[in-house]
């Protein structure tokens, strides 16, 4: 139970940071997403994101920062194993599940449903 609560707290706090950026700086949500992923990569490469994951679990891995961290960790692992080539293969290899899932489900949903207006 405490793990779920910690995920809730950490995830909520990370999203608050995003909301503060939207409301105060007028940065568009699309830019926030970019900012979060790149920040995740930077934190990940210095190993600064792992403590958050250890504490908050999905609260750290589900936000886009976690996606950035996955890219960083992937590239570290591949550079360790394959050297220079790993720079090019590491990131996408680690993120493959996410990207492929998004494309697959995106395509399926596009086929079976259509956009609606809300009133």
């Amino acid at each position: 139970m405490s793990e779920i609560l910690r995920a809730f707290l950490l995830g909520g706090c990370i999203c608050i940071v995003g909301q503060v950026l939207i409301d105060f700086t007028k940065i568009t949500p699309a830019r926030i997403m970019v900012l979060f992923v790149v920040t995740g990569v930077v934190l990940g490469i210095f190993g600064l994101y792992q403590p958050l994951i250890d504490w908050g679990g999905a609260g750290a891995t589900v936000p886009l920062l976690g996606f950035g961290n996955v890219l960083a960790k992937g590239v570290i692992k591949e550079v360790d194993e394959a050297g220079l080539l790993g720079i090019f293969t590491g990131g996408v290899k680690a993120a493959a599940a996410g990207i492929t899932a998004a494309i697959t489900f995106g395509y399926i949903m596009a086929i079976i449903s259509k956009p609606k207006i809300k009133s």
Binding site: I22, P29, A30, I45, A58, P63, G90
Partner: protein
């Protein structure tokens, strides 16, 4: 005709008079929404761990499930409502990444499968991948050089 107000003055006036966003409400909504999505993620992760998956495997499996949930809620026309309420709480989690891919795919289906769904799918999420992956290459290069030096 003489101008009553300069451009600069007008812009200042607009900024001063513009209604502010409901800041406290927005923060609260972002916290609740983002927190709830992550809590669901944690539950999914715990289920995978319960079935004996290791931490790394259950983390990627959780990502896939969360992306599916985001896609599904988008497909049944609900995620935009969550986004309207939760703001960053809905766009920062990976479900929001999924929403940003599924929503243009649905929207542009009418323009065909290739130039519509295919070409527009990454209309919003494209930059995330471009800069995310590019950042990982820079990070990898940095790490590679650091390894040689140390």
């Amino acid at each position: 005709m003489k101008k009553q107000i300069s451009k600069h003055e007008y812009q200042k006036l607009v900024e001063e008079k513009a209604p502010g966003s409901h800041f406290i409400k927005n923060l609260f909504a972002a916290f609740i929404t983002g927190g709830a999505i992550c809590a669901v993620g944690q539950i999914v992760m715990l289920i995978f761990e319960n079935f004996g998956a290791d931490k790394e495997l259950s983390a990627s499996a959780t990502s896939i499930i969360m992306i599916f949930i985001g896609a599904f809620l988008t497909g049944i026309n609900i995620y935009d409502e969550i986004g309207k309420f939760g703001g960053a709480g809905a766009s920062v989690p990976i479900t929001g990444f999924s929403n940003s891919i599924v929503s243009p795919a649905m929207e542009f289906k009418k323009e065909g499968h290739v130039m519509g769904v295919g070409a527009k799918m990454f209309l919003i999420a494209g930059p995330v991948l471009v800069y995310g992956i590019f950042a990982s290459v820079i990070a990898g290069l940095f790490y590679f050089i650091w390894k040689q030096v140390m």
